[in-house]
């Protein structure tokens, strides 16, 4: 006896075809969403034309950084890519590669500080220029220091002598530093291999004229940690940064590679 086609069978087959087509579409769209060389070339030309010394260029999403630097790296220095933070830059170019996820797009809109003064879509890249009052940097602890990996990010910073269990505090001292109105300090544990082999915590203290003005505790998950900004009195002061291991309950020895950066700003 011939059976009429079951509606459940048809529904299941339609769902299968729809799922199949949708997956093919999404797979193809992932590639077609990526910016082309032409898009990058246009973005690079635009920025190069309007670039001013002291401008910062950032790429969003951050994982597209290598591609962005290939096109715009001649306008970027080690100081820029390994900066302590963005505050010293008055103009920031945001180069936003297309993303397909709306939540990422939401993060992109809120990406930077400062107001947007210029915005242009170039294919699948959006170029945005933000202006920010910025801060004048009077002194940098980490100027010309090698770029270190801290929290899997690049930062120029100065490594204190490695801390071991029970070791004396490590200290960096700087007499006669010209302070402005604010002192900003960042710190972290450098080198993923050292972090993997050593699990511990370090206490960081910042002293101005031997008075503690800021402190923080670093561990393997802290990444690049900004200590609370310290209001300062303009003029010359003595700055010291100390680090010492925090005793571990397990008693396990740890070798901690503390890396610090600091700026006196106005």
């Amino acid at each position: 006896m011939r059976r009429v086609l079951s509606w459940r069978g048809c529904l299941a087959a339609c769902l299968l075809v729809t799922l199949s087509a949708l997956e093919v579409y999404c797979t193809c769209r992932a590639r077609s969403s990526a910016p082309t060389d032409g898009d990058w070339r246009a973005a690079a030309a635009l920025i190069a034309q309007e670039f001013q010394p002291g401008d910062l260029i950032v790429f969003v999403p951050q994982w597209s950084d290598q591609v962005g630097r290939k096109w715009l790296g001649s306008l970027m220095s080690l100081d820029d890519v390994a900066r302590m933070d963005d505050a010293g830059y008055q103009r920031t170019w945001e180069v936003v590669a297309a993303v397909t996820d709306s939540s990422s797009a939401g993060r992109l809109r809120n990406r930077g500080q400062g107001r947007v003064v210029r915005e242009q879509q170039l294919g699948r890249i959006r170029v945005r220029l933000r202006e920010n009052p910025g801060r004048e940097v009077l002194w940098q602890l980490h100027a010309n220091a090698p770029v270190q990996e801290v929290g899997y990010e690049p930062h120029r910073c100065v490594r204190l002598p490695d801390l071991g269990a029970g070791s004396a505090p490590a200290r960096l001292g700087f007499p006669g530093v010209s302070f402005g109105t604010e002192l900003v300090v960042y710190a972290g544990l450098a080198d993923f291999r050292t972090r993997r082999e050593n699990y511990g915590r370090a206490a960081i203290r910042v002293l101005v004229d031997e008075t503690e003005v800021a402190r923080a505790t670093l561990d393997n998950e802290s990444g690049w940690l900004g200590l609370p900004p310290v209001p300062t009195t303009p003029g010359e002061h003595h700055l010291a940064i100390e680090a010492e291991p925090v005793p571990s309950s397990s008693g396990q020895p740890a070798r901690l590679a503390v890396c610090v950066a600091a700026e006196a700003r106005r």
């Binding site: 093919v24 193809c28 290598q66 397909t100």
Partner: protein, 621 residues
């Protein structure tokens, strides 16, 4: 072939599905259990093996040589040379400790089977210029003059990789045959086989001379043999033991198969006891325990001396294995505890979505699948009666065997303390079982569509092909588009490679992707460039030189920071924990501008810096 009046309706043509009880079948088409049907299935299986191997041979040359592959190729060349020298009289006392050590002490942390097969395949099929490049070959295998006599139709890399390719095709074929035998549906079988093969990451591993894909094949083959042996037959039990011996000789995933099969057997035993029936035959498990280790020992000359100590060394190496770095959901893990859900997270984000969806549906429909299996088993019993054969007539709890095949390979990683290297490769055996579950859903969809009631066989056949094709299409597309960088592939749920980067998932591992930059380097690097290879190891680099894929004047600058400082060009292979090497290059070269960046759908895979920053820009892909 006539039907007796007490038979259930016939199973219908090979590319349609089973009728429900009470429906008429079409006796014009070969039944899945008939001789013409069996021949058809063997032909399909053969096509799967040959076709898969052919596709892999065509596509694999674009895929770079990964770190471990280079070691296994080197080992394979040595192991094959051992047998060649032993059989041709060039090796005195081939069974002596010193003779064996000269060839077999290298890479003794892994069993020998696949390495030996790689070496034998290389020896038989490679195009030889070994004497001219003798310095690039392992010492004991060097050819001083002349050429190896070979069939000379493959490059060295493809010749090494051929056994894995064949085993991948065999895996697809075995999935097909198992499905037809268990459930009688060729549509479902075809879908399951295609979904086994069209998986981006499995396809990647199938294009390499490494062990994880073969381990998945041996897992499935042994399970299939065990399942068949439950119906009885000494030869089937022996086959199970032999296959398990081959699995033991491949990789340590073999240690976990007894948990799956033993657990299945215990379930069968308990359920039969509840029904006051006899025990299931233990013969296949006994064969695994007895024959398996004998095969393992026979195939590994390294164990022929100091057996206990060396076996202990092999086990200890893996018991105390180092922990690797891998990025998962934005966090770099390199020590336990690891998130228990890591294998599930990787499965859900890397496997084709259609495979996942259909596997879920198939799991929910296992009850219906069991009824298909019962019908199939009744047919087989009638077949055996006609042939006057005996055999176990009882249910084999196939559904449980499939589910155990999904879960047990992954299970060690749920505890959060097992070293995780990269991604899905350690539990690739899960994937064909998921494909079978997906095939069950497809078979039942076909059944619902009443394909078998089509008035003409050709229409039914075409509809079956269409159903299998629609099922496999997205998986095939993903596999093609991810090749040859499938370790960076993430599925449509995540948004491809860019989505994986956005989620903070493992970008890649094994250092193979630099192959995509070789043409650029050959065209643009200055003469006599010292190249910092980063995570591409020296042995892989030497294989590129053997294959003339890299200019001979481009040399390895060395490792770590001294290598970077000595280099004029430097590679960075992007994984989160490797970021420090990019910064090392910046410090050494004084600039941050890459010369070239290899991307997959916009996500950077490998970056090349030149110390001299004076050339034009341009993406490679």
């Amino acid at each position: 072939m006539s039907q007796t009046s007490d038979q259930t309706p016939d199973q219908t043509n090979g590319l349609s599905t089973l009728p429900s009880a009470g429906e008429e079948g079409d006796t014009r088409r070969p039944r899945a259990d008939s001789l013409p049907g069996r021949r058809l299935d063997l032909v399909v299986a053969g096509v799967l093996v040959a076709g898969t191997t052919a596709v892999l041979l065509a596509t694999a040359p674009a895929q770079g040589v990964h770190r471990d592959e280079a070691y296994y190729m080197k080992a394979g060349e040595q192991y094959a040379t051992y047998y060649e020298h032993a059989l041709t009289g060039k090796l005195d006392a081939p069974l002596a400790r010193e003779s064996i050590a000269r060839y077999w002490s290298y890479n003794s942390e892994h069993p020998p089977l696949m390495k030996l097969l790689y070496g034998l395949s290389w020896r038989l099929f490679h195009r030889c210029d070994c004497a001219e490049e003798r310095d690039l070959h392992p010492g004991v295998a060097r050819l001083e003059r002349g050429r190896h006599r070979t069939l000379a139709f493959l490059s060295e890399t493809s010749a090494f990789r051929l056994p894995t390719m064949v085993l991948f095709g065999l895996l697809g074929a075995l999935v097909y045959l198992f499905f037809v035998e268990a459930f009688g549906s060729r549509v479902g079988a075809a879908a399951a086989a295609l979904l086994t093969i069209a998986q981006p990451r499995a396809f990647f591993h199938a294009s390499t001379a490494s062990f994880d894909l073969p381990a998945a094949t041996w897992w499935f083959a042994t399970s299939y043999a065990y399942w068949r042996a439950l119906e009885g037959g000494k030869l089937r039990a022996l086959a199970t033991g032999l296959l398990y011996g081959l699995f033991l000789s491949t990789k340590l995933q073999s240690f976990f198969l007894p948990f799956a099969l033993g657990g299945h057997w215990l379930f069968l035993a308990m359920s039969r006891r509840r029904q006051k029936l006899g025990w299931p035959t233990p013969a296949p498990l006994i064969a695994m325990v007895v024959v398996g280790p004998l095969v393992f020992a026979a195939l590994w000359p390294h164990l022929w001396h100091d057996t206990v100590r060396r076996l202990g060394g092999y086990l200890a190496f893996h018991w105390k294995h180092v922990h690797y770095n891998f990025e998962y959901l934005g966090h770099n893990f390199n020590r336990p505890p690891y998130p228990w859900h890591e294998p599930l997270g990787m499965l859900v984000t890397t496997a084709p979505v259609i495979l996942l969806a259909l596997a879920l549906a198939g799991t929910a429909l296992l009850g219906a699948a069991s009824r298909l299996e019962q019908q199939q088993q009744q047919q087989r019993q009638r077949q055996r009666q006609r042939r006057r054969q005996t055999g176990d007539k009882l249910s084999r709890a196939t559904w449980l065997l499939i589910l155990l095949g999904v879960l047990v390979p992954m299970a060690p990683f749920f505890f959060g303390r097992t070293p995780i290297f990269g991604e899905t490769k350690h539990w690739l055996a899960t994937m064909p079982h998921l494909a079978i579950l997906a095939g069950i859903a497809v078979a039942l969809v076909g059944k619902r569509l009443a394909v078998e009631l089509s008035p003409r066989p050709v229409v039914g056949c075409l509809m079956g092909v269409a159903l299998a094709g629609v099922t496999a299409a997205p998986a095939v597309v993903e596999t093609m588009r991810s090749h040859p960088y499938a370790l960076s592939h993430y599925n449509a749920l995540v948004g491809g490679a860019p989505g994986g980067a956005e989620l903070g998932m493992n970008r890649q591992f094994w250092g193979y992707a630099i192959a995509g930059l070789l043409p650029w380097m050959n065209a643009n690097l200055p003469p006599n460039t010292k190249l910092y290879l980063h995570d591409c190891n020296h042995d892989a680099f030497e294989m590129y030189r053997r294959e003339h894929l890299i200019r001979p004047d481009i040399v390895d600058a060395g490792m770590e920071e001294p290598g970077v400082r000595a280099s004029q060009a430097a590679l960075v292979i992007h994984e989160k924990h490797f970021n420090k090497y990019e910064y090392m290059i910046w410090n050494a070269y004084g600039h941050v501008r890459p010369a070239a960046v290899l991307v997959l759908d916009g996500a950077p895979l490998v970056t090349l810096y030149l110390r001299d920053d004076t050339f034009g820009a341009g993406n490679l892909r």
